[in-house]
């Protein structure tokens, strides 16, 4: 039986299928939204009536990249001005060069202020990471020199701090009488514009609230997918940012993904955070119900839990000897966000409902607590093929990987940390030895744990050529190799960003490799990741994607 449908053959420089049984092809044939086959143009032509499209003749076609951990605010934050340390492309494809000094930050803000027409409008910016400006601190008096009377708020990359200017301090009544511990003070004892943690940041009033609200708009969802398409991604996972019990947010997702032009598939995780419905059994039921409402482009069925904080924020739970050089006054270890001894009871309802639980665990105490919980729940309710996943896995130990393998768990490893914070991890947070075995893709591979790698965008930029580059090279921002023995090969990394990410989401029957019958989701690349120097992996250009057979050229703007 052949196909009666006319189909298109795309000859390519090479098709990398990530199907070990048929790893490469000269061309791929697409019928409707599905892959008809891979092979030589002649082989594919023998299926019948077809058209040959040579637009990818010089390109390399891979399965569309699958991001199993990022957040929709990746799209929403672009309503504000980017002042991060690293170069970053916005969803329109414009390159925003990194602000590598406080002067760069101020220059960027001055330009943004000059471009604003309404004088009363607040200038919002994001991505500031003071960890890269040791010894110097951006404070209100700096901001005042370029923003004048315009209220200004700069959100830090950590999300736990913001710096505001004097105009905004005045508007919010923050002065020397402030009593909140969230209001930082300079050497002169006066508030310096830095607001710490939610209790401090909320004193900035509407400015902070507006920034958060921008993450819920339709525009934010479109930008999220546009950014993905520009980087070769065809599936994104919004891991626990959406309140799925809120009909507005759910319908918003249904609306944007229902638009045929929307350029990505999205897996939206159920989260137990951010809301009043806290009975896990009820959330599990809702999530099962949502699975019956899903479409080709909108998927459900996974649940996000969270156990600890972040390593660079010194809030991840790390076992002895804990932190290497924590800041003065640090309490010794990180914070639990969920009580570890409650974990099994929290996981159980989702586990029993047939859902997959993805738990944020940065520190090794957190991964241990989650692995314990999964083991306990499996004893109570044995279940095959649950694929419960340790998210971030930054300090997960070899012994823990062995347990994960035995229990059928997956890992999603935050490889980008090696580049973006690896130097700080070695010198400050965990010290040289443990930094060298962080984000241990090689150990995961050798232990037989199926794993993916992720950007956690907006925490680091979305783009799987970068996450793969990190896992393969383990080069830090300062150019040093951190833990060479944990490096993996390019073919391993390519599996991690395609089929194994899909497998973690239980979508590997439909996407993640180029095989007859699967959805025609491709990343179209300007060069061959298996032929270039591994250090050049992240520099490969992305033409765009094919999503369900539709061509989605990347938008590359001018800088």
């Amino acid at each position: 039986m052949g196909t009666n449908q006319p189909f298109v053959i795309y000859p390519a420089r090479r098709v990398i299928t990530i199907n070990p049984a048929y790893p490469f092809g000269e061309a791929v044939a697409v019928a409707g939204d599905r892959i008809l086959g891979v092979g030589s143009t002649d082989e594919l032509a023998s299926w019948g009536e077809h058209r040959i499209d040579d637009c990818f003749a010089e390109h390399v076609i891979m399965p569309g990249f699958v991001e199993a951990h990022c957040h929709v605010m990746s799209g929403g934050l672009w309503n504000s001005t980017y002042v991060g340390y690293f170069d970053r492309r916005d969803p329109q494809g414009l390159l925003w060069p990194g602000c590598t000094s406080i002067d760069d930050v101020l220059e960027r803000l001055a330009k943004a202020a000059a471009d604003m027409s309404d004088d009363s409008q607040t200038l919002l910016a994001w991505g500031l990471d003071p960890i890269y400006f040791p010894g110097e601190r951006l404070v209100a008096s700096h901001l005042d020199t370029v923003t004048g009377d315009r209220p200004t708020l700069v959100l830090h990359a950590s999300g736990h701090l913001a710096t505001i200017n004097s105009a905004l301090m005045d508007r919010c009544g923050i002065d020397e009488t402030a009593t909140s511990p969230g209001v930082a003070r300079g050497g002169d004892g006066l508030p310096n514009g830095e607001l710490h943690e939610p209790a401090g940041m909320m004193l900035a009033g509407d400015a902070f609230v507006d920034m958060m609200k921008a993450n819920r708009t339709e525009q934010a969802r479109w930008r999220y997918a546009n950014e993905a398409r520009n980087a070769g991604h065809t599936l994104l996972t919004d891991l626990g940012t959406t309140q799925l019990w809120d009909p507005d947010q759910l319908n918003n997702w249904k609306k944007v993904t229902g638009d045929p032009a929307y350029p990505a598939r999205v897996m939206v995780a159920m989260s137990n955070l951010f809301g009043a419905v806290a009975d896990p059994a009820e959330l599990a039921e809702l999530c099962v119900q949502l699975k019956s409402e899903q479409s080709d482009k909108l998927r459900f069925g996974i649940v996000k839990l969270i156990l600890d904080g972040s390593i660079q924020g010194f809030t991840a739970r790390i076992s002895w000897p804990h932190y290497y050089k924590p800041p003065p006054g640090h309490i010794g270890n990180g914070l639990w966000l969920t009580a570890p001894d409650q974990m099994a009871d929290l996981v159980e309802p989702y586990h029993r409902a047939g859902l997959t639980v993805h738990c944020h665990c940065n520190g090794d105490e957190a991964s241990e607590a989650f692995i314990d919980a999964v083991e306990e729940v499996l004893q109570r309710y044995p279940r095959w093929d649950h694929r419960h996943t340790v998210q971030h896995c930054q300090l997960t130990t070899p012994a823990q990987y062995r347990r994960m393998a035995a229990l059928g768990m997956s890992a999603n490893i935050f490889s980008n940390h090696i580049y973006y914070w690896g130097d700080q991890h070695r010198d400050v947070t965990v010290g040289p030895e443990r930094a060298a075995r962080m984000d241990a893709c090689r150990t995961a591979l050798d232990s037989g744990v199926s794993f993916s790698i992720h950007s956690d965008s907006p925490i680091t930029p979305l783009g799987h050529l970068q996450t793969a580059w990190c896992a393969v090279n383990r080069v830090t921002a300062s150019g040093q190799v951190l833990g060479p023995d944990e490096r993996i090969g390019v073919p391993d990394a390519l599996r991690a960003i395609t089929i194994d990410a899909a497998r973690q989401l239980k979508l590997d029957g439909e996407i993640g490799s180029i095989e007859a019958g699967k959805l025609a989701d491709f990343a179209v690349l300007e060069d061959d990741p298996l032929s270039v120097d591994p250090m050049a992996l992240r520099d490969i250009g992305v033409w765009g994607t094919v999503l369900g057979g539709e061509l989605q050229p990347a938008q590359i703007g001018e800088s």
Binding site: G173, A178, T179, S180, P181, G182, V183, E197, P198, A199, G200, M202, L203, G205, F208, V209, M212, Q243, W245, D246, N272, L273, F274, G275, A276, V277, A278, P280, L305, R317, I331, G332, N333, L335, W336, L337, T338, A339, P340, D341, Q342, L346, E365, A369
Partner: protein, 327 residues
């Protein structure tokens, strides 16, 4: 009315299972005050079903008209929810999550319009020592206890022997250094201990020498455990006397609250000397003396100090005698 219109905040912390929600429910049942409850749930909320009359996505309306909302969306959102319910509450309770550091929640007490009243931390009498040595949560539990102004040693009835309770309280005194300890079952703590003794705001119709026994919450079952004394002040008190009183409270005192006029120091130039009014409060190690502006259009306040103490721990005229040391 006093000029201080800030809404007092009580933070309720303590490890999972210590009885935080039981305490919240106890408070809601024991008072007619309009109390708003904000829950930092993180997946733990268990406000009793019978108290809930209506629930929508971000708030629960409780049977007595109080509302309960979640902190997870951010404190501003929770406050907006509270405000949108119409009448402002007279008090705000924030129930921290079982692993939260109550001090971080207490930081919200510095939001304009709000004032931190006390950090109340519950300890499960049976479990707390095990938790405080647990391989993963020991530091969390100890940080919680150290943050307390008032430790409610809950489920005390589950301990086998009274000596066990004494030993536990000795240990807790060390861990929660300086906090007031209150033993309770089912979190039934007298309201005056949780919220502080009630000060009657106005002098009108009051005998100036009343030494009232506080019985605000008639259903409190702990009258046999706590007693109160009140001294009505007919003249300003020298500032050093008030300061010395607050700084040297004996262990038996659970809470103290007063509205006092401080007399200027004897040496002060008469032309500039004026009495300054203070709201004086003490709970555990948290003591405060806040300047208090009086409203000339209102009748003068009733100047008085009240304290709540463990029964039998203080002489009945202890407060009176301290205040008269001025003479």
């Amino acid at each position: 009315m006093t000029s201080d219109q800030r809404i007092p905040i009580t933070v309720i912390g303590g490890y999972l299972g210590a009885g935080k929600t039981t305490l919240v429910n106890h408070v809601l049942r024991s008072t007619d005050e309009r109390i708003a409850v904000i829950v930092n749930d993180f997946g733990e909320i268990s406000i009793d079903e019978d108290l809930i009359v209506a629930a929508d996505s971000d708030k629960l309306t409780l049977a007595n008209g109080c509302i309960c909302c979640s902190l997870a969306e951010g404190f501003s959102a929770a406050l907006d929810t509270v405000r949108s319910a119409g009448v402002l509450p007279t008090r705000l309770l924030i129930e921290a999550s079982g692993v939260a550091d109550p001090n971080q929640i207490a930081a919200y007490g510095h939001t304009p319009g709000l004032a931190l009243d006390a950090v109340v931390v519950l300890a499960d009498a049976e479990q707390v020592r095990r938790q405080a040595n647990h391989r993963w949560v020991a530091d969390t539990v100890r940080i919680q206890l150290a943050a307390a102004d008032l430790v409610v040693v809950n489920k005390i009835d589950l301990l086998a022997a009274p000596e066990d309770a004494d030993a536990l309280c000795d240990w807790l005194t060390g861990v929660a250094n300086g906090a007031t300890l209150v033993r309770a079952s089912r979190a039934a703590v007298p309201m005056d201990v949780i919220f502080g003794p009630e000060l009657r705001e106005h002098a009108a119709g009051r005998s100036p020498s009343t030494v009232a026994s506080s019985a605000r919450a008639a259903h409190d079952t702990a009258e046999d455990v706590f007693e109160s004394q009140t001294v009505v002040l007919d003249a300003p008190v020298p500032l050093p006397v008030i300061e010395a009183l607050v700084a040297n409270l004996p262990n038996g005192v659970a809470r103290l609250k007063g509205l006092v006029q401080a007399a200027p120091p004897a040496s002060a130039d008469d032309a500039n000397a004026a009495e300054t009014a203070y709201l004086v409060e003490a709970i555990g190690k948290r003591t405060s003396m806040t300047p208090h502006a009086t409203d000339p259009t209102q009748p003068p306040p009733r100047w008085a100090i009240s304290l709540i103490s463990h029964k039998g721990s203080l002489a009945p005229d202890w407060l009176e005698s301290r205040l008269h040391e001025r003479n």
